[in-house]
């Protein structure tokens, strides 16, 4: 079937180069229509129906739609609805869309891939009858429009061949370009604008709501609020001659009128303030920035500001309230300040949120408040506002014209009722871009049968460890057990006469089931990690694997990948072996059970003795690690007790840490390090490793300042000295102080990241937090994809498996790492969001008075942490009572000075007045400040369950001011 037809050349002029490309035109391309009598197509080639029913009132005959590029680019949400069928997507359109917007292109491909939608992609550019050559002087756009018209015309005449008039579908061209429509009409092509077509569609309610309101954003308008953006060519020359800079815009979480952009050439991110300074940039957009002259530079405002207005109409707030009153140019807080002058690329996605209905009944224009605080409100048009008010909805952005205070968008779909658990979880997952759809049929087809058992020949290939006493230790309720351990004393001794132990870590052999390049593998790679929400787990691999076949359950034979060491009494590793194995876990224990087994002197069975060996070794290993400079960091972690019926949280408690926790952790660390060393030696170019870069000294600035106020000098020059000085920073009588210091230290750290060994030099491999030169993840392949890759690499090293091409490709590995890091981060954020959601539910109908600690002092608020719940939030201070001292970073009111690390008591309640951002309100209780602190109205009610601190408060409320001064004095004397 080798055909070359008419041969044409396509010329493309660059700067000086003349490029001549071949362009083959074919006669074997099919039209994809069932009504066609000419094309030699088989049944599976046919996409378009012979007689599609018309859904549009304007056209009462059956027809196919041909779309213009702009229709696809702007109205993809309409296309994604099931309403439109029998659509022809021309290659011209496909290529233009791909060129302009890859995300849009992917969505379009997905629609085309869906057989039910009957979208046919026709290769008009290579069809001998539809190819159009660019005329001299003709613009590319005009040529493409002509190509689209030509294809539409061809389809119409092609379908009419050998067909009775009126019996075959007509062609309707959808385009929003008026010019194009005019020419098409002259050429006899039926055409229509999208708006007219969609508004006349019968039987699909709400379709018109999804129409994008695309306004040319830069077009001249009389009452423009914002300065116009520069054109792409102006931006291009501006960047080239150094007047403009390119950067990604990050909106501030705390202040809607402020944002930053990191720009190369400036150490600090460039500050952008006020509506004009931000000029319609939305978080994530790539923008062009003009740096203001030095005397106009200012500092990040330390004010917390929320967009509260109820649709004030189209005017902008005065940005002056951002500016701090004293601008001292010598101050080192002064940051380069600039303004956005153009948008290089919009990074808009779909946003979850709620509708803020208009006050006027029957209005169609409403405001939408996104759940993400960094995204401004959006104006949308809908007729279903009554229905949508109580729901979580998804909205897409369309444009932001100069004369509109808010960007314009349109409704995409509803996620469910506000407050409904599933809808709220869905919001969390969508906002964090967590892939959470059910596993597809193709993925499930890769799974072994439910009753799969280990075949004999598989056992023969592996080391049989079924006779060894292996056990697993995990948190309670864990169903995806991916690690198990064993330890036994060896009869031989080392030369120095020390005891020798045989210790093994056995990891679930997920790669036996997840084979490379299968649908299952691809899905797992795309998910990258299992995401844990408080009441829900979004698995990386289907349940059959994650909680059955790969889970190392007690008493069942399982495939494992083992890492076995010989370790001497002093916890020195003498030798390391890796092999695939078969194990039979003797017991799957919780941390608590394991601890009891160790402590119970009377137990002397195999499990108890091996646990005791492990525990003893782990303690020595931990000590060694700490001596090396590993950091012990803390983050406020809590566990919810969940109601078994409603899945609502009932109570929270801090996670308990036992010896056995750290025992398991130590051996997992050892396994990971051993594997990392082995891989890096075997695969210098493509080993998947994990590194933790040391934090830049600037990160520690505020942390050190706060510690100094408490009288501690923390040495952050190396991780070793840092660890040491953290250990020394203890205030007797305030046990939580050290933990708090560690929590704050954690915030100064950078994220640990996955990388491919071919992309970094050897000394960049260092893991700062663990203080080890090389590290990777090997021990949780059920819930992390990185471990799956590491397993494959290691299997290839030890000859248990073969390599495959993508595994050894540095570039592919790099791309994979990027995705892993992204998903990993998003999963963490999603987890935190879920905790926040559940705390809100917990506080729905209660109020609590709790101890709190000040984490940071802002100009109008204190950032406080409630250790019991791990909650963090702003405690607003009225500016008429409090004076903010910038130098010392303290808030002063009369005799009371509030600064970082101060302990307070606060009252917690849930503010549900705004359904969108339900938030916890923190109110000051002690130290008592009249007019600010919360005073309980009913003083008699005493709560028996309250601890000592709270009793103390009720005293203060009784005695008012005099005790207050005493209590502050008390605190000072503690230092």
């Amino acid at each position: 079937m080798w055909t070359t037809k008419t041969f044409l050349t396509k010329t493309k002029r660059g700067n000086v180069l003349k490029i001549v490309r071949e362009h083959y035109l074919r006669d074997d391309l099919l039209c994809g229509s069932e009504a066609c009598n000419v094309c030699p197509q088989k049944d599976d080639d046919i996409v378009l129906e012979a007689k599609p029913a018309s859904i549009c009132g304007l056209f009462d005959y059956s027809h196919y739609l041909v779309l213009d590029t702009n229709v696809v680019l702007h109205q993809i949400d309409v296309l994604e609805e099931d309403a439109l069928k029998n659509v022809i997507i021309l290659q011209t359109v496909l290529e233009e869309v791909k060129h302009q917007n890859t995300a849009m292109y992917q969505r379009l491909l997905e629609i085309i891939g869906n057989k039910k939608r009957k979208f046919y992609s026709f290769v008009n550019e290579h069809h001998k009858d539809t190819y159009v050559e660019r005329k001299p002087g003709e613009k590319q756009n005009d040529r493409n429009d002509r190509a689209i018209r030509k294809a539409a015309e061809w389809y119409a005449s092609h379908l009419s061949i050998n067909n009775v008039a009126g019996q075959f579908p007509q062609i309707v061209l959808l385009t929003d370009d008026e010019n194009n429509r005019k020419i098409a009409q002259e050429e006899g092509i039926v055409c229509c604008s999208v708006k007219d077509y969609i508004e006349n569609v019968n039987g699909f309610v709400g379709l018109a709501d999804k129409l994008s309101k695309n306004v040319m954003p830069e077009s001249y308008s009389k009452d423009a609020l914002y300065p116009a953006h520069l054109t792409p060519s102006q931006i291009h020359t501006g960047i080239r001659n150094g007047k403009l800079h390119q950067g990604t815009f990050h909106a501030s979480r705390d202040n809607f009128m402020e944002g930053t952009a990191s720009v190369s050439g400036y150490e600090k991110p460039v500050l952008l303030q006020g509506h004009i300074g931000i000029n319609r940039a939305i978080d994530g957009d790539i923008v062009a920035i003009e740096i203001l002259p030095k005397e106009e530079w200012s500092k990040p405002s330390d004010i917390v500001l929320e967009d509260k207005a109820d649709d004030p109409g189209d005017f902008l707030e005065d940005p002056t309230l951002l500016k701090s009153n004293v601008v001292d140019t010598a101050d080192d807080d002064i940051t380069p300040t600039g303004k956005v002058v153009g948008i290089i690329k919009r990074k808009w996605r779909q946003y979850c949120g709620v509708l803020l209905p208009s006050q006027f009944p029957g209005a169609t224009r409403h405001l939408f408040t996104p759940a993400e605080k960094r995204i401004p409100r959006v104006r949308i048009e809908t007729r279903q506002s009554n229905l949508l008010v109580s729901q979580r909805i998804l909205v897409a952005l369309d444009s932001w014209p100069r004369n509109s205070r808010y960007p314009l968008g349109h409704f995409v779909r509803s996620l469910g009722l506000i407050g409904d658990k599933n809808a709220e979880n869905e919001v969390i997952l969508l906002e964090h871009d967590v892939p959470h759809a059910r596993f597809s049929e193709a993925v499930l087809a890769c799974l072994p049968p439910d009753d799969w058992t280990i075949p004999e020949e598989e056992i023969k290939k592996r080391v049989d460890l079924r006779s060894i006493c292996v056990c697993s230790v995990d948190p309670p309720g864990c169903t995806d057990i991916d690690d198990a351990l064993h330890a036994r004393e060896l009869p031989a001794q080392t030369r120095d006469g020390l005891k020798k132990y045989d210790v093994g870590v056995h990891i679930a052999d997920v790669t036996h089931f997840v084979r490379p390049n299968t649908a299952l593998d691809k899905e797992a790679a795309s998910r990258s990690t299992t995401v844990y929400l408080v009441d829900k787990r979004i698995d990386m691999v289907p349940d059959l694997l994650s909680s059955n076949l790969c889970s190392l359950r007690g008493g069942e034979e399982r495939l494992a990948f083992s890492c076995v060491w010989e370790i001497d009494e002093n916890a020195n590793v003498l030798s390391t072996k890796f092999h695939k194995s078969v194990i039979k876990s003797r017991a799957a224990m919780t941390y608590e059970q394991a601890q009891i087994t160790i402590d119970e002197k009377s137990r002397n069975d195999d499990i108890a003795s091996s646990l005791r060996i492990l525990n003893a070794l782990a303690k020595k290993m931990k000590q060694k690690r700490l001596d090396n400079g590993a950091l012990l960091l803390a983050s406020p972690e809590i566990r919810f007790q969940v109601d078994s019926e409603t899945h609502d949280p009932i109570e929270v408690q801090a996670k308990k840490i036992m010896d056995t926790n750290s025992m398991v952790e130590e051996f997992m660390l050892l396994a990971n390090v051993s594997v990392a060393q082995h891989l890096a030696a075997e695969f210098p170019q493509c080993a998947l490793l994990r590194r933790h870069p040391p934090p830049p000294p600037a990160n520690f600035h505020t942390f050190l300042k706060a510690a100094r106020q408490q009288g501690f000098e923390i040495d952050v020059s190396t991780n070793k000295s840092f660890s040491k000085s953290l250990d020394a920073a203890v205030i007797p009588g305030r046990p939580f102080f050290n933990t708090l210091l560690r929590i704050m230290a954690t915030r100064c750290m950078q994220q640990a990241v996955y990388f491919s060994s071919g992309t970094k030099t050897q000394d960049e491999f260092y893991h700062y937090g663990l203080a080890c030169p090389i590290y990777t993840h090997f021990t949780s392949p059920i819930r992390r994809y990185a471990d799956v890759i590491v397993h494959r690499l290691l299997a290839a090293c030890v000859g248990a498996d073969v390599t495959h091409a993508t595994l050894l490709d540095t570039k592919a590995a790099d791309a994979l790492c990027e995705n892993l890091n992204y998903r990993h981060r998003q999963a963490q954020y999603a987890g935190r969001a879920s905790v926040a959601l559940n705390t809100h539910i917990l506080f729905k109908n209660r109020e609590e008075i709790e101890q709190a600690v000040v984490l940071a002092v802002k100009r109008n608020a204190l950032q406080v942490l409630i250790p019991k719940y791990g909650l963090e939030g702003p405690l607003y201070l009225p500016s008429d009572k409090f004076v903010y001292n910038e130098e010392e970073n303290v808030q002063i009111c009369g005799g009371t000075v509030l600064k970082t690390f101060d302990e307070l008591t606060v009252r917690l309640t849930l503010d549900s007045t705004n359904m969108q951002h339900r938030k916890l309100v923190y109110q000051l209780v002690t130290p008592y400040i009249p007019g600010v602190s919360y005073v309980k109205e009913n003083e008699d009610s005493n709560e028996p369950a309250m601890d000592v601190e709270v009793v103390d408060i009720s005293e203060t409320t009784n005695k008012r001011k005099d005790t207050d001064s005493k209590s502050t004095k008390k605190k000072k004397s503690k230092k």
Partner: protein, 261 residues
């Protein structure tokens, strides 16, 4: 160091060498050759000559000999095949300064010699020499292949006894919907996309391979796949060359006689 690293890793071409409909950038399917046009006996001066176009790659070949070899090169066993590969200064997008004698041209000359020696019945002409001159007029990917194919035609035109036609073809790797789809006869655009390029010169009628060269590392899983595609290309080219020779002979005898008489 940086270049070393690139050489050391497996290179994957961009994913968009094949469109979702399975067509290549220029509209071919993966298993299709570019258009080949060729003509024998384009010059009267040399003993044999040919012009060959493979897509936009255009090559001239001229053969002199067999004639007496110069003393230094002469061999008592077989004929000495002397090749010279040169690229016209206007053959590439940017003007070349040195048409021949640079490293690349020398390497090409060597490779040509290897492939052509394999096809010529060298044992028939001891103490003689055959000179083959190749001039690339336009290079648009696969210049080596076009050179080999043109040289074969020129040798046939010169009446040098050959074991078989020697044909050369390239193949590369691309993915279509997740499965590997080797591309035949790689053009310049596809070459520049950074994928592996496998060049094969073979004698399709005997099934032997005269030369095999690969630009980057390729995982062994795919090698068979790519090689068989390239060999298929060689067979397709042989058919085209054979037809050209037959056409030339059918129409050409009379004309050529007139010229020589």
């Amino acid at each position: 160091m940086a270049t070393l690293r690139v050489m050391d890793s497996f290179l994957m071409p961009g994913p968009d060498l094949l469109s979702s409909q399975g067509l290549r950038l220029d509209g071919r399917r993966p298993n299709e050759l570019r258009r080949i046009r060729c003509k024998l006996g384009v010059f009267t001066q040399p003993d044999g000559s040919a012009y060959l176009e493979q897509g936009n790659t255009k090559v001239l070949a001229a053969v002199y000999g067999p004639h007496q070899a110069s003393k230094s090169k002469s061999s008592t066993e077989a004929v000495v095949v002397n090749c010279q590969y040169s690229m016209a200064t206007f053959s590439t997008g940017e003007r070349k300064n040195r048409p021949r004698g640079d490293r690349k041209s020398l390497e090409m000359s060597l490779h040509l010699r290897q492939a052509l020696t394999a096809a010529i019945k060298t044992e028939l002409y001891p103490r003689s020499q055959i000179d083959i001159y190749i001039e690339v007029l336009q290079a648009d990917g696969g210049a080596y292949c076009a050179s080999v194919n043109a040289a074969t035609l020129a040798l046939v035109d010169a009446g040098v006894p050959l074991r078989a036609y020697v044909c050369a073809c390239t193949a590369s790797m691309a993915w279509h919907g997740g499965s590997p789809a080797p591309l035949l006869d790689v053009g310049h655009v596809e070459e520049a996309a950074g994928g592996v390029v496998l060049t094969v010169a073979s004698l399709p009628s005997t099934g032997s391979i005269a030369l095999l060269e690969m630009s980057h590392r390729l995982h062994s899983d795919y090698f068979e796949n790519v090689l068989s595609r390239a060999l298929q290309g060689c067979r397709d080219i042989e058919v085209i060359l054979d037809k050209a020779v037959r056409d030339h002979l059918a129409e050409g005898w009379t004309k050529q006689d007139v010229v020589t008489v």
